[in-house]
């Protein structure tokens, strides 16, 4: 290797790990010295200058020829600020972070170094050093900076193994979860596997259509504490195969939408190669272990659990072991990372496909649509035979990464063979948060084969909220205060915010509060607070009216009928708790009614004259049918009163007690209010539209819809004991039913409100009665994952809640002081404001050393120091004695008041922390003082440096994912001289003559063509950086007038403007622009 032509042998010694560490520690990532260099644009013009790499990662030309040796001392002494060391000279590269390095053979064995830099990675500088040890210094400094990441929050993606895995090492491996389930996966031969044929094959989920050796089979799933999952044969317990969950990203474990397999307890596990390409993460190593390792084209499995609650438990458990997607800086405390919550609902209302050319014009064409992402379909609408299909489907997604592109594919059902795609809509992350799409929007559909040909339109609607969430430790103190704080005060704040801020959605605010209080076990109190609050406002009006001798009947008659926080929260809660009850009590009868399909029409004006005249008894027959159904439904409801979940019953009980305080003696009003909750908001919606609650697959036809409408009307009137007749005279004949069941209804209401003892037996087998095998698990689970029941993302909800409180705080202290508006424009769930703040980032703000800004502590006031404290309205920041005890059972009013204040303060601190983290993470990454001195860190970093055959240098920071084959460790521990890096070229070898001018394009171009080849769909341009999101794309996120623009363009549907409008946004999400920290390869 070092057969050099040069005499000075000591200079030609190979580059060793010690050189690397030593150079960094000595120079602190800096460099100064004479370098021969040229730019790409002018390759012939080589010049020799004194170049400096500054402590802020800039490459400077300090041409006034400073003697490098004498500079060394100054370098060491002046590290405090970015540019103190040299005031003269000009900057050649402002930020070396994430720069690319490629070594090119030069005349002697010391290579020419090709340096790629800039946002698009297109800037190029070539450098040559004549002295090997100087070259090593230069190379060390470049590698050092290359390992730091450029601007842009999403560039700071960090993929480390889950804490849950580390925690386990060394301990005995235990079985955490065991479950009998059905698996869709490769069928192992020569084992006695019973293949299940009657389950629908998840074709849509797999790219590969060639799946002969795959199928559904029953198995015993065992999740072990080291993060592997075994699949055993159910009859004799032999191992079929195992998979290593710790190899998966959290995004690669997915709960499957009901629509795909008509089942809501399925999970998907598997490598999503196009997702990994998007992240520039290796797809080379799969997660199958044993003999199937690296032998499958698609490493994917579908698990189908017997119960929804099993699926929920497994979902959390599996995700706990998978690699979390976090955003953080090198060596910052783990409490200072962020995770993204990227939630969106895609609604597909209808399409107009009249321009679709049909192969068989006589046949009635049938269409459905698919929502796909990362080359997999994740949701599907039903098939509808109409060229103007009306779907009205909504699909929910909750991602932890940005989504490069989501496709809505319109498929035509083909009788034989594969269904045909007739049109396609691409949705990008930028479009998700575009307000234009928050309302029904008609989007042009283009032919897949001919993208300029519009085949029709599709009407979609997107609801999207994105948030960043802190790690759990940050919320500990908040939760402590939350457990004591005064709910009436919080309710006041929430109502106030809603009143003032009209952009907030009642629904979202209600659900934030519901989740936060449910998870913090104060939900009963919260409901009590809401009920009393709303009743007291009403009470005041009634009092006023009676004072003036005015009637209040209009108040009594519209009690709890509008949408308020209380009614919204209740609706959501009842359905969450009671969904299963509803399905098991009345689901079957509803399906029976739909299957029966016979008309129950009793409105003569809706029956055609001919039918009426030929069959005079038709109305009588229909009425009889209607009454039969409604009696059946009522009987089911009545007889399962004891199965109604206890949470709902206890709610109704305290609701009734509160009502009785206000309308004492007015039994009918009390009944009305209870029915206004229980029937109007719980039973009737499901009866009216079982599809919406997934009780049936298809939309109803007109006849059954009408039947169900009549049924819910009847039930509603029964529930308030209101006779028909005044509005719709033809309903009068139903009154006998109401009169006949009056006493049953009253009994029922008394029972479910605990007024009368309920001796009826429980008849339904509900899962809520099953205790979950949680105890063993809980130690192993990741705290930050959704709380397993109902899959609520606790810390996300608490983050939303913080913003809510903070808004209230800002409203009540309307200070014109600019400094005070910590989160004035942070609306709940609103990524735009996050990014707005991140974009207004002041470069000077991020100083070296800022990264260590916070050591882990639960006391946020400590963290922020004085600069923040002056923002706080609260002055009495003492040590939180009250907070130290875990939960005070009977807090005094002082304690309550104290905690309430502290809660508000803690909220603003957390808001501030979030914003500040966002800001710091959006900036360039800088090394901290601690790291610069840390040998262990440097050794770790050295292990992450790789090179390719053509001597491109890669730094792979995500060591949880193994490296691809074509990459070699620079300091290869498997070789005998393991700490020596093959940096120098062997001058005796004949690998061609690289003179700069001739090879000037080779380096980077290679990277890029290689890269795009590896993109499966080929639609992504890997040359752009995500970091652009925080710069250019932000302008789109921030709606500044742009929405109008887009709206205008949308109007011109036919001329394809829209496509172009988003054409550039699709490249945004790509992190792979250079090799700086990621790489990707496929076999």
């Amino acid at each position: 290797m070092n057969t050099s032509t040069d005499n000075r042998n000591d200079q030609m010694r190979p580059f060793s790990l010690n050189d690397f560490r030593g150079n960094i520690i000595k120079m602190k990532g800096r460099f100064i010295g004479k370098v021969r260099w040229c730019r790409e644009q002018s390759p012939q013009i080589w010049q020799t200058d004194c170049l400096e790499i500054t402590s802020a990662g800039a490459l400077k030309n300090v041409n006034n020829s400073v003697d490098s040796v004498s500079m060394d001392n100054t370098v060491m002494s002046s590290t405090s600020t970015n540019d103190a060391s040299s005031s003269s000279g000009y900057i050649m590269v402002a930020h070396l972070q994430q720069c690319t390095i490629k070594l090119i053979r030069w005349e002697n064995s010391i290579p020419t170094c090709e340096l790629g830099f800039g946002e698009s990675g297109t800037g190029k500088i070539y450098t040559q050093l004549s002295d090997a040890s100087k070259f090593y210094e230069f190379f060390s400094a470049l590698t050092w900076w290359s390992s730091y990441r450029a601007k842009g929050l999403f560039n700071k993606l960090t993929l480390n193994k889950s804490e849950c895995v580390k925690q386990q090492s060394g301990e005995k491996i235990a079985n955490l979860l065991v479950c009998q389930l059905n698996v869709f996966g490769p069928i192992v031969r020569n084992k006695n596997i019973q293949i299940i044929d009657n389950l629908e094959k998840p074709d849509l989920l797999f790219k590969e259509k060639n799946m002969e050796a795959w199928g559904w089979f029953p198995s015993m799933g065992v999740l072990k504490s080291n993060g592997t999952m075994d699949f055993l044969l159910q009859n004799d317990g032999t191992l079929l195969y195992s998979v290593d969950i710790t190899k998966l990203l959290r995004s690669e474990i997915r709960a499957l939408d009901y629509s795909l397999l008509m089942n809501d307890s399925c999970l998907f596990l598997g490598i999503l190669s196009s997702l990994r390409n998007q992240l520039s993460v290796s797809t080379e190593n799969g997660f199958f272990l044993g003999y199937l390792k690296n032998r499958l084209a698609d490493e994917q499995l579908i698990l189908r659990f017997p119960l929804k609650i099993d699926q929920e438990d497994w979902f959390i458990a599996l995700k706990s072991f998978a690699i979390p997607e976090r955003f953080s800086l090198i060596a910052s405390d783990s409490s200072n990372s962020l995770r993204l919550s990227n939630k969106f609902d895609i609604g597909i209302l209808e399409a107009d496909l009249e321009a679709v050319e049909l192969d068989a014009p006589n046949e009635k064409p049938a269409f459905y649509s698919l929502v796909s992402m990362w080359d997999h379909a994740w949701a599907k609408t039903p098939i509808i035979s109409n060229t103007k299909p009306f779907w009205r489907e909504e699909f929910n997604f909750h991602e932890s990464l940005l989504v490069e592109s989501i496709y809505i594919q319109i498929m035509q059902k083909v009788r034989r063979g594969m269904d045909k795609m007739v049109g396609l809509v691409k949705i990008t992350q930028a479009m998700l948060s575009d307000p234009v799409f928050q309302k029904e929007t008609r989007v042009p559909l283009y032919l897949t084969s001919n993208p300029s040909f519009q085949v029709g339109t599709i009407c979609i609607k997107i609801n999207s909220t994105a948030n960043f969430v802190l790690p759990p430790t940050n919320y500990a103190k908040l939760e402590r205060f939350l457990s004591i704080a005064s709910l009436p005060k919080i309710a006041n704040d929430v109502y106030k915010v809603l009143e003032v801020n009209h952009s907030l959605k009642l629904e979202e605010v209600s659900s934030t509060c519901l989740d936060v209080f449910q998870l913090n076990e104060r939900l009963d109190e919260w409901f009590q607070t809401l009920i009393e609050r709303e009743l007291s406002t009403i009470n005041k009006s009634i009092y006023k009216n009676s004072h003036k001798n005015l009637t209040s009947s209009h108040i009594y008659n519209s009690l709890f009928r509008g949408n308020s926080i209380m009614t919204k929260t209740t609706e959501k809660y009842f359905f969450r708790i009671g969904n299963e009850y509803l399905n098991k009590s009345i689901g079957a009868i509803l399906r029976e009614i739909i299957d029966d399909g016979k008309s129950c029409e009793i409105d003569p004006s809706r029956i055609s004259k001919e039918v009426l005249s030929t069959d005079s008894s038709i109305i009588k027959q229909n009425r009889k049918r209607l009454i039969t159904w409604v009696k059946k439904i009522w009987k089911l409801i009545y007889s399962t009163s004891n199965d109604l979940p206890p949470e709902i019953r206890s709610y109704l009980k305290s609701f009734r007690m509160s009502l009785e305080k206000v309308c004492a003696g007015d039994e009918s009003t009390i009944l009305n209010c209870i029915s206004g909750i229980l029937f109007l908001r719980f039973f009737c919606p499901v009866i009216l539209n079982p599809k919406l609650f997934k009780f049936t697959e298809h939309h109803l036809n007109d006849t059954t819809r009408r039947t169900l409408t009549l049924l819910s009307k009847t039930l509603m009137n029964l529930s308030t004991l209101t006779l028909f007749g005044k509005k719709e005279p033809w309903m009068i004949d139903i009154n006998s039913f109401i009169e006949g069941h009056k006493s049953e209804l009253l009994t029922y209401v008394d029972r479910v409100t605990d007024r009368k003892l309920d001796f009826s037996t429980k008849t339904l087998k509900l899962q809520s009665g099953i205790t979950r095998p949680k105890l063993l698990m809980s130690n192993f689970l990741s705290k930050e994952l959704q709380s397993s029941s109902y899959l609520i993302d606790k810390y996300l909800k608490e983050t939303e809640f913080i913003y809510l409180l903070n808004m209230a705080d800002n409203i009540s202290h309307k200070n014109s002081d600019n400094q005070n508006c910590i989160s004035q424009d942070l609306s709940i769930n609103d990524i735009t404001s996050f990014l707005k703040n991140a974009s207004s980032l002041d470069q000077k703000n991020a100083q070296i050393g800022e990264l260590e800004f916070e050591k882990l502590t639960e006391n946020n006031t400590e963290i922020f120091g004085k600069d923040l404290l002056q923002y706080l309205v609260l002055n009495d920041i003492e040590d939180d004695e009250a907070g130290k005890n875990s939960r005070i059972l009977d807090p005094t009013s002082d304690e309550v008041e104290y905690s309430t204040k502290q809660l508000l303060q803690e909220s603003s601190l957390l808001c501030y922390k979030l914003q500040r983290l966002i800001k710091v993470l959006s900036d360039y990454e800088y090394p901290s003082e601690v790291i610069l001195r840390d040998e262990a860190y440097l050794s770790l970093l050295a292990k992450q440096i790789y090179f390719t055959k053509d001597k491109r240098i890669y730094i792979c920071r995500n060591n949880s994912l193994t490296s691809p084959k074509e990459y070699f460790n620079l300091f290869d521990s498997s070789l005998p001289n393991q700490d020596v890096a093959p940096l120098l070229f062997d001058s005796s070898s004949d690998s061609g003559n690289f003179s700069i001018p001739s090879s000037r394009c080779s380096g980077s171009e290679n990277v890029r063509t290689d890269g795009s080849k590896n993109y499966i769909s080929g639609n992504s341009n890997p040359s752009r950086s995500l970091s652009r999101l925080t710069s250019t794309k932000i302008s789109r996120f921030i709606r500044v007038g742009s929405s109008n623009n887009i709206k205008g363009q949308l109007k011109q549907k036919s001329d394809g403007v829209r496509k172009e409008d988003y054409a550039d946004s699709r490249t945004v999400n790509n992190t792979s622009r250079k090799s700086g920290m990621f790489w990707f390869m496929r076999k």
Binding site: N545, R561, G562, R681, K713
Partner: protein, 263 residues
């Protein structure tokens, strides 16, 4: 005879049903009777033409909104109702209107903005001006304040929507006429319910054929500017907005009646 489908939309308890029943049957219902979905038929005469109306009264509860898209698709004209005693109910209309426009895929959908329960002066939280403001934000959608209880402006809101539907149809006929000028001649125009266009234009401005003097919407709507100037200044002196000062409400009513504005 023409069949027109009207849809009444709005939050729960704002008085959609009371308004509809008052219009259809002339009675005021005061019961706790949440609507799931009611439909009514009524035949009315406008400008000597007879129209058959089918009115769909809908639920205000969110869970039923799954049906809303269907209602909107089938409806031809819309009454967007809020209660002047409930700020939230007006806020909810914003989204609703947007949805109507989007699903109808047109920005000229026949609709009126209705502020109901205007008789409840003590409980009022939304002033007339607030309503006018919204209506002008909406591109001068006709705006009325109504009281189902007092039967004021009830017929007017329904008739206004019907007129808008008629006008829309006429315009469409004109458009398609212009397009087909050479091929098809005027006979097809007479399909329009009101005879030729000129006569509708006239009837809009003059000679109300209804028994009562026609009241105008509280805003300028798409008509000439007559009302704004007369109404607004007096309003601002008369009604001090939300601070419902107990000025004798009857007196107030009379004054306003003179202004062709019901209260």
């Amino acid at each position: 005879m023409r069949d027109y489908k009207l849809v009444v939309l709005g939050a729960g308890g704002v008085g959609k049903s009371c308004l509809t029943v008052q219009f259809v049957q002339g009675v005021y219902l005061d019961t706790y009777d949440p609507t799931i979905e009611d439909s009514y038929r009524k035949t009315i005469e406008i400008d000597n033409k007879v129209f058959d109306l089918e009115i769909l009264d809908t639920a205000g509860v969110a869970q039923f909104t799954a049906m809303r898209e269907l209602y909107i698709k089938s409806g031809m004209g819309f009454l967007l109702v809020y209660s002047v005693t409930d700020q939230r109910s007006l806020d909810e209309l914003m989204e609703l209107r947007e949805q109507v426009l989007r699903i109808k895929d047109s920005d000229k959908v026949p609709m009126v903005l209705v502020g109901n329960k205007a008789d409840l002066t003590d409980e009022r939280v939304i002033s007339v001006e607030d309503g006018i403001e919204i209506s002008s934000k909406w591109g001068k959608v006709p705006f009325y304040e109504t009281s189902a209880l007092l039967r004021s402006n009830v017929d007017e809101v329904f008739v206004d929507v019907v007129r808008q539907i008629i006008r829309n149809e006429m315009e469409n006929v004109v458009k398609s006429d212009a397009r087909n000028q050479s091929t098809k001649s005027s006979p097809s125009t007479s399909v329009g319910p009101n005879g030729n266009i000129a006569s509708t234009e006239n009837s809009k401005k003059s000679s109300p054929t209804t028994d009562k003097p026609r009241s105008k919407p509280l805003n300028t709507s798409r008509r000439p500017t007559e009302t704004v100037k007369t109404t607004l200044p007096k309003r601002s002196t008369n009604s001090p907005g939300k601070s419902s000062s107990p000025v004798s409400s009857k007196q107030k009513k009379k004054k306003k009646r003179n202004l062709c504005v019901i209260f």
